[in-house]
């Protein structure tokens, strides 16, 4: 399973792997929003938590269909399904690799991009914490969606439609954590709720994803 994880990281970093795609998208969104909304710093500061979380979420969405589709097309998924590692493990490892190549860079880049949106000072720490806690859920939910749509040609649209409603709770609690952090309020409740969503998704969805893969491979 470690092998699969390392292979996915290697593939993502090599040319055409899609590493940086989400990061570039996140950068574009946060750079363009001030142009669209106007340079008034008070207004930017008010919408910054929501925009940063939304940008990170959409950046995550961008690379979801690569999780299984590439392996399906070149036949690796058939071979992995007959390999000695369980498909549940394959789904979990591929979601983890997706998080390391998209969620983690987004989390690390977010404070730098928060400056562009005039994010208030106390919120930076909570921005990093909330993204670190919330983005694993985005990757695992996305892996489940990708598993459901793996056999479909151009399944990206269906994947987005399936996954976006499931992303809403994470978005609400993630942005709420940052907003409360910015205003100096207590962030415990939204942060714990988001952590609960992440833990539940990580615990359950690899099994659902593996079952969806089995059906799609028939």
């Amino acid at each position: 399973m470690i092998r699969l994880f390392l292979r996915d990281l290697k593939l993502a970093i090599r040319s055409g792997g899609g590493f940086g795609l989400g990061l570039a998208f996140f950068l574009i969104v946060t750079v363009l929003v001030p142009f669209g909304v106007g340079p008034e710093s008070g207004r930017l500061a008010a919408i910054a938590p929501g925009i940063l979380w939304l940008g990170a979420l959409l950046a995550c969405l961008l690379s979801l269909d690569r999780i299984f589709a590439l392996d399906y097309e070149d036949g690796s998924l058939d071979l992995l399904a007959t390999a000695p590692i369980p498909l549940e493990g394959v789904a979990a490892v591929k979601a983890a690799a997706h998080w390391v190549t998209t969620g983690l860079p987004l989390t690390l880049a977010a404070p730098a991009l928060g400056v562009l949106l005039n994010l208030p000072g106390p919120a930076y720490g909570w921005l990093v914490v909330s993204l670190a806690v919330g983005t694993p859920a985005l990757s695992v939910i996305g892996a489940f969606g990708a598993a459901l749509t793996v056999g479909l040609k151009r399944g990206g649209l269906l994947l987005s439609l399936l996954v976006l409603p499931l992303y809403v709770p994470t978005l609400i609690f993630g942005a709420e954590t940052v907003r409360r952090g910015a205003e100096g309020l207590d962030v415990t409740t939204p942060l714990l709720l988001m952590a609960g969503i992440t833990l539940g998704a990580v615990a359950l969805l690899p099994f659902a994803a593996a079952q969806a893969l089995r059906i799609n491979l028939r």
């Binding site: 092998r3 699969l4 292979r7 290697k10 593939l11 090599r14 055409g16 036949g75 071979l79």
Partner: protein, 205 residues
């Protein structure tokens, strides 16, 4: 270590293609599947490999004994020949890819990226993967597509070596591999349309 298939019915896309397939494959044996396009050779191989459940009947084999290889080789274009092979060796828990490289004459290509291989070289790499799986039963779907005569010879030699070690193989192919093999014509097991009633539901059950 033998593979026993009894009364197996299998479907593709919800439509039954084969029914009441029976055969046994003992160590050291090769069974060649014959039949026209669409007869169900691939479906039978996928069912035997455990990629899809049978509609009826049983496939009895040691757990994790079947290595499957189909038209797609499962190669990653941006990994080198050695990296591709080492990955599969790691996944199947074996070590040492040198024997597999030698068997399919790939030593000169170890550091080449898979995207720069010719179709025949890719196929040879895909077949070399079978050797690193260390599994006794090979289920192969048209293994010699895009191979030249010399490479078919390499494959034949690898297959003989596999049989000599007590392995067996179930191969859908139309050419002579140079090994003694029994032939199973799948057209005899073609599913009758009447038997298809209710199969649609079963496929989604």
């Amino acid at each position: 270590m033998s593979l026993v298939v009894e009364n197996l019915s299998c479907a593709r896309g919800g439509i039954p293609v084969l029914e009441r397939v029976c055969f046994a494959l003992n160590p050291g044996e090769v069974l060649v599947l014959r039949g026209p396009n669409g007869a169900g050779k691939t479906t039978l191989l996928r069912t035997v490999a455990g990629l899809q459940p049978p509609l009826a009947g049983t496939v009895e084999a040691e757990p994790e004994s079947v290595a499957y290889a189909a038209h797609a080789d499962g190669l990653k274009a941006t990994l080198t020949v050695a990296e591709n092979l080492e990955f599969w060796a790691g996944i199947f828990g074996t070590s040492g890819i040198d024997a597999a490289l030698t068997a399919f004459d790939l030593e000169a290509l170890v550091d080449r990226h898979a995207q720069n291989l010719s179709a025949g070289q890719k196929r040879r790499l895909g077949l070399a993967r079978l050797l690193v799986t260390g599994r006794p039963v090979w289920a192969l779907d048209e293994p010699t597509v895009s191979l030249d005569v010399a490479s078919v010879g390499l494959f034949g030699a690898a297959l003989k070596g596999h049989l000599a070690q007590g392995g067996s193989a179930l191969i859908a192919t139309h050419i002579d591999l140079g090994v003694e093999a029994r032939v199973l014509d799948v057209t005899e097991f073609r599913a009758t349309p009447e038997a298809g009633g209710g199969a649609f539901d079963e496929a989604f059950a």
